[in-house]
Every structure is written in C-alpha cells, then in structure tokens.
C-alpha cells in the first residue's frame, strides 16, 4: 500500500508543518502573552478570556475559516496556498498561537506577582524587570511551546480541510491515519499512530533535555 519512502515523506512533512507552525505560533504568541501579562491596560481580562477560549477552538472550524480565506474565491486566494504545505502551516499557526499565548500569560502572571516589587525595590528598570520576569517564567513559557507543538502534530481537522490529504504533497501522519481507517486498514492506521507517538515522544524528550541542561 504505502512504501517506505512514502512513509518517510509523510513523517517529514508532519514534522515540518507542525514544527514551523509551532515556531510561528510561538514567535507571535510568546511576546503577545508577555505583553498581556505584564502590561496593565483596559480590556486585559477580556483578551485573556479570549485566549483561553481558543484552547477549545475546534480545529475543523479553524480549518474551515482558513480554507475560506485561502480558497480562490477568498481574500487570499490569489496566493494559491490552498492544498499546499504553506496553507497547512498557516492554518496550524492559527491554532497554536492562542494556546502558546494563553499558557505564556498564565506562566508570566504567577512570576510577575512576586517579582515585580522585589525587582523594582532592588533598582531594576521596567525593561530589566520584563527581561527578568520572562527569564524566571521560562519553564512555563517552554511548556507553552511544547503544548502548542503537541496540539499541532496531533491535529487532523485543519490539515485535512486546508491540505486536502493529497498523496505525496499534503498527506501528514494524522490525515494518513484517517484515510487508512476510512478504508478499514486498521493495521496501517495503527502503525502510523505508533510513528506519531514515537515522534512526539522524541521531540518532547529532546526539548526536556534542552531544558534540563539549562539552555532554556
């Protein structure tokens, strides 16, 4: 059914798409989360609630929205990103970003409470305080990125709708599993599932090692 090089290609695309969308989601989500946690402004609680609400945002709905935007009839249709890995990355970034942002907010706010007064009393300026707060909250922020990646790699709704599950082009592990199940190929589906689990395990083990070594 599926030969080894094809499996490799599916695995590679899964890591590429989920990794890149985690990267994009984090690069946007972490600073936004820091901003929301450390700056006091009107509507801050509302922004937090919205970010937390997006934890429960159904990926299929995100997929539908991104599909409508990237479709030829949609506002960004001229880019031709529908049914391409780039479209899948955009769609997954939409899912990852609020998750990273929300967990970052939580992590920063726990640190902020005890740190703020102490730092300022010791003579730190606002910028130093923010940097120190981010540094102290790094474990929580790191967790945010890991949870974001976990969501991206295990997600099937958006990549199926926006990617189209095109063989050799946009088929990733989760959509391959759905396809095999729909054809009652339970053995193949299970094998893909195990591969997915092993990848997730390897990535998280690697990240935790980084953390333990004090790199982050």
């Amino acid at each position: 059914m599926t030969d080894f090089s094809e499996i490799l290609q599916i695995v590679g695309l899964s890591i590429l798409v989920s990794g890149t969308s985690t990267l994009i989601g984090s690069v946007v989500g972490v600073p936004l989360g820091v901003l929301v946690a450390l700056r006091k402004f009107r509507g801050r609680n509302f922004v937090r609630t919205v970010a937390f609400t997006f934890y429960g945002f159904p990926p299929v709905l995100a997929g539908l929205l991104v599909f409508l935007i990237l479709s030829r009839g949609g506002p960004l249709g001229f880019l031709g990103f529908l049914f391409t890995p780039i479209g899948m990355i955009l769609a997954q970034s939409v899912i990852v970003m609020p998750i990273v942002m929300g967990i970052t907010i939580s992590a920063m706010m726990t640190v902020e409470k005890r740190l703020h007064d102490t730092s300022l009393a010791l003579g730190a300026n606002e910028r130093q305080w923010r940097t120190t707060a981010l540094h102290d909250a790094r474990v929580g922020v790191f967790t945010a990125v890991m949870v974001g990646f976990g969501r991206a790699i295990s997600e099937v709704g958006t990549v199926l709708i926006v990617g189209g599950n095109i063989r050799g082009q946009t088929r990733v592990l989760t959509t391959a599993i759905v396809l095999e199940i729909s054809q009652a190929h339970y053995l193949e589906a299970t094998i893909f599932g195990i591969i997915l689990f092993v990848i997730a395990f390897a990535v998280f083990a690697f990240l935790q090692r980084l953390q333990a070594k004090g790199v982050v």
Binding site: I24, A124, I166, S182, G214
Partner: protein, 296 residues
C-alpha cells in the same frame, strides 16, 4: 535617555530572550523561503483534481496517475472528497478538473457555466450487499433494488446508510423514493446512518450484520475483509456513471486549463480507456470504460 539607564544584569547565556530572537529569525527565514518556493512554482506543471472517495478507495487513481504523468509530463494532485464538495471545489476555482459521479449535480454545474466541457469516462454499478451467512430480508438473487429495499423495510432488517449526501447516498435516497418511503433514524430502529465513506460503511455493515448499498468497485476491492456478499445486482437503474469536467477558465482565470483538458482527453482516449478497462483490484475489474471525448 540611554545614558540614564542602569547597566543590565548579565543573564545566563543563552538566555530565553536569545532563544526567542533566534526563533524569530528562523521563523522569518522559513516564511520567506516558503513564499519564494511557492512563487517560483507559479508556472504550474501539475493539475489539481477534485474527485470522489470511490475513485481513490478503489485504487484506480493511484494506478492511472503515473501513466498519465509519464505520457504527458503533467503531475496530478488529487483530493478525494464527496461529490458535492468536489464540484464545489471546482466552482470555487480551487480545482482545475473534477472527476465525479452524480449526473444531476454535474448538469447543474455545467448549466451554471462552471465547467468547460463534460465527458463520460467510465461506469460501474451499485449493488445491495448483505450478511454472508444469512439473508433476513430474503433479497438474495434479486435484480431489482426497489423490491429489495421494500423487503428490507417490511422485515425491519438492519440497514446502514452512508447518510453523508455522497453520490452513493443520493442514489440510496432515490431508491427509497421509488419504494415510496423515507426511512429516518429517529422512527426506524432498523435504519442507521454511518456518516462515513464507503469502505468504512461496509466495515460497519459487516460488523453489525446489516445490509447496505455500495458501488461494486469499492465492495470488491474490500470484500476479502468483509463478512458480506452481493445480494442484488444488474439493476439497470443502479448504473453509476463517472464524468470528467475541466473547470471553465473564463470563470476562473487561475485554472491550468491546458493540463485539465489534457487530463480529460487522456482519460477518454484509447490509451486511458484501455488502462481503465484493464485495471484489476481484488481479482476483479471494477470499472467498465464508456468514455467519449466531448471536449474541444
């Protein structure tokens, strides 16, 4: 301003901020690279085909596409969805060409000016399949699906419907309309909807010892793993016609029309037709070519 600032405390290196900066640069580079790659691909060498799950699940497309690619040098990226969604992808301009089996929906698609031309490609038939060991509705050997459905209704034998508005589901509803009865999952305990594709629905029917309607291709390809057999076949009303429709480029300028036309003409050519006719899966030939090139 800067002069007034106190010197920053050195942070353990690399600090989280450094990591974040590296991540930012990496992300920016990846986005730019992605843009560059996709812009470079603009003069396309592949077509996007929207088709139905039966064309994929029967294995036909994975068999045909390499031949088409070596004959013409044009790649095919296909997405297999329901007939309704396949036609919708065409009318949005997201697909260059569609391969579907729902004549009424196809005619509506053509009437709306969305299709460039419509050529018949091949046919197979729908069959009523039921449990291997028993025949609670007594329909084995019939050649009339309407009578078979009537017996299933009167005997309250378990029946699994696709329930997903697919081409097969539409045919099933049509047969029920000939019976003069509309089964519903709320009133009829013997009538269940799977909401899934053909292969999955066959598997459910097999597990639940039930009847279902299937195209013969998908059933034959999967029959080895199913505890089901064909009860009713050769009903002329159950013939299933596939057509290929390149999307109209005057409605959607982004269509790769040359590639789409090439694909439609290749499918209906002698070469494509003989490949379709010779395609075997599970020891059978699920598709009967009946192609006719109606494209300019």
């Amino acid at each position: 301003m800067t002069a007034l600032r106190r010197p920053r405390e050195p942070l353990p290196w690399p600090s989280f901020v450094t990591v974040w900066r590296v991540a930012f640069v990496l992300a920016a580079l990846l986005i730019l690279a992605g843009m560059a790659v996709s812009i470079d691909l603009q003069p396309r060498s592949f077509i996007v085909l929207a088709t139905t799950t039966s064309a994929r699940d029967s294995g036909l497309l994975d068999y045909l596409i390499p031949y088409f690619q070596s004959d013409t040098g044009i790649g095919v990226r296909y997405t297999a969805v329901g007939t309704g969604q396949a036609l919708d992808l065409g009318s949005r301009g997201d697909a260059d060409v569609v391969l579907v089996h729902a004549p009424s929906a196809e005619l509506a698609f053509m009437a709306a000016g969305q299709g460039l031309c419509r050529s018949p490609v091949m046919m197979n038939q729908f069959v009523v399949v039921g449990p291997n060991q028993s025949d609670p509705a007594g329909i084995l050997g019939l050649t009339n699906a309407t009578i078979a459905f009537e017996r299933i209704r009167t005997t309250h034998a378990l029946f699994i419907s696709r329930g997903d508005n697919s081409g097969t589901n539409i045919i099933e509803k049509t047969i029920w309309s000939w019976v003069g009865y509309t089964p519903s999952t709320t009133n009829d305990t013997w009538y269940k909807e799977s909401g899934q594709g053909m292969a999955a629905t066959l598997d459910i029917a097999s597990q639940l010892v039930a009847y279902t309607l299937s195209d013969d291709g998908t059933f034959l390809v999967h029959s080895a793993n199913l505890d089901l057999r064909i009860d009713v076949q050769h009903d002329p009303a159950l013939r299933n016609f596939y057509s290929v429709i390149p999307v109209n480029p005057s409605v959607h300028p982004s269509i790769f029309v040359a590639g789409a036309l090439r694909f439609a003409k290749w499918l209906t050519s002698e070469r494509g037709q003989s490949l379709i006719g010779n395609y075997t899966a599970g020891g059978v030939r699920p598709f009967q070519p009946d192609g006719q090139d109606l494209c300019p």
